[in-house]
Amino acid sequence: MNGFVKRKKMIGLSLFFWGSGQFLIAKQRLKGFIFFCMQLLLVGLELFSGYWIEYAQGLVPDFSIRLHGGFFTKGIWGIITLGEKLGGKYGDHSTMLLIKGVIAVIVLILFILVYLWNIKDASETGLQIEQTGTCMSSKEYFKQFYNKRFAYIVLAPIGIAFVFVVIMPIVFSVLTAFLNYNRDHLPPGKLLDWVGLANFKKLFTIPIWSHTFMKVFVWTVIWTLLGTLSTYFFGMFQAMILNHPLVRFKAVFRTILILPFAIPQMISLLVFRNLLNGQFGPINQILLKIGFISENIPFLTDPTIAKVTVLIVNLWMGFPMFMIMMLGVLANLDQSLYEAASIDGAGKTQCFKTITLPLIFQATSPNLIMSTAANFNAFGAIYFLTQGGPNNPDMQFAGSTDILISWIYKLTLDQQMYDIAAVMSVLLFFIVGAVSLWNFRRTVSFKEL
């Protein structure tokens, strides 16, 4: 038997019985055995989690995948149908079926990868036999494999955990956007159906939805920009003052001013919520007492004032981070630059504009971008302070200060509009993904690639 025939035979055998080519022809017993075990595991998983054996023996008269299918067949059946029978203990639970289905598909993909690897390996080992007349033993193969594929071996378990905990939920969310999963259709009481693009259509064509979406989106953008820029520039201003040579007790002021950064944000927000309370908040009480105002200021309940309030509280919490960073930059500035500039006759303002500002900006621009992304998703800053309120009757389940992410949260937990919330998550994912991809190209691609 010449090498070429051997190779063909090996691939042919391994196509049907995993590892059999390696085992029988290349005499790589251990490797072939492991591949074969994987095949046994795959088949066994399906056979023993279902009722296939009983079915083959003729013990199951009315066979259906719903009742008698195995892990994989039932999983795929679940994704396609989302359940067929309603009711009680023995009814179908659509979302559980969906998630089991997604898990089954992921596991199946992993097995398919092993299968493809098995065929590729058969082909490569065959090629070795064809060219040299012999091939390495299993032991040599594993040794070489460990050295060459070390990264994959170590990362595989972490990668699998990552796929199930991080990627799978995202896949599930994306799929939810195409279901009628809302308070009128809640499993296990009701079955769900695939509705295609209906939810996307709803969001963009039904006026109250598209109107709310636009309003919330615009406020999200305003909030993100103003929230980030105000903290950035105020932090810069404060760092300049603190860095001024005439200032004494720097350490004291610095320690006090850093406090908002150190105190947990949630606590700060809940404290401000009480301080600013419209009825019995101390700030209103004090202002009333000193006669500065004649009636309570609705800090958190007037649409416009509430927006200003969340921005100011955000400034209180956010400026110390930039202040600390810029103090670091200022401390490391090269003093000779200023000396050279003053010899050339530059004034203080000119020095600031042409030396300090560009250097600070260069050192902190990554933080600026990061903080923009964080503000875009700053659920806590809105929810703990105003809970998105005051309520706005013109908007669908959103308040005047709601940003996209807090609206999504409300739609999910308070309104049980899982489908629309998922549509919005998908949109958010694209926005955030696009921005971060752009950011990635801007930073890393220039440095490393």
Binding site: A151, M168, P169, L257, I263, P264, Q285, I324, S425, S436
Partner: protein, 273 residues
Amino acid sequence: MKKRITAILLHMELIIMSLLVIVPVIWIVLSSFQEGSGPSSTIKLSKLTLDNYRRLFAETNYAIWFFNTLKIAFASMVLSVCLIMITAWIMSRMQFAGKKASLMTIMILSMFPTFLSMTAIYTLFLTLGLVGKPISLIIVYAVGAIPYNTWLVKGYMDGVPMSIDEAAYIDGCTKFQSFRKIVLPLSTPIITYCAVSQFMMPWMDYILPNILLSGDKTRTLAVGLFALINGKESTNFTIFASGAVLIAVPITIVFIVFQKYLVQGISAGADKG
């Protein structure tokens, strides 16, 4: 003269800002020692009491919430630091097909807030029968920490010269030995950052624990505190204040102690991500 006016103006600004920062802090601390139950504008320094702290432990499950959170924070810190270090080490030191693609994927995923897939995470753990058990949250925290922190630590490890590893290989080190004896000890600052930030996160995270651990006995501190105050401002405020002070003080101290590492870590994260 001009100098003097400048100095006075600068100090005035600093004093005003310091007051704006510190007054709310003092107010909440003193409120926790006040009699009565609602937020008040008049703080009576003569009538300070520890009653609120007593009631906090007698009438709420604060101690249970505290230990729930401590367990979760500690376990997720240990697990995530292990996962992050190994992943980052591989990404920094090994060359393999698909490395760029996987780094890119986790980079985009790190910008996506975990809680957007909260329905899915809830359904997943419901299917696995883990809803209400702390292990569910630990898994989500530890694995969810991989994307962002991998980038951060990889960036740091790239700065540890490869030549040290190579010298170790020549002396007969295995790959894991070079990781344990060379790369890890040289990465202490970034490990500190990861550990501290992972430990601190569960104390004030709200959304996921609220969904996954909703029973009063299984709650974490943030969920418990929020439930204590939300909608009950006039009756529970002083108790809430005592609970808030009790947790904010240690966190603030940890922050100030590790300030150097945290600020460096945040800057490095922004730089790499």
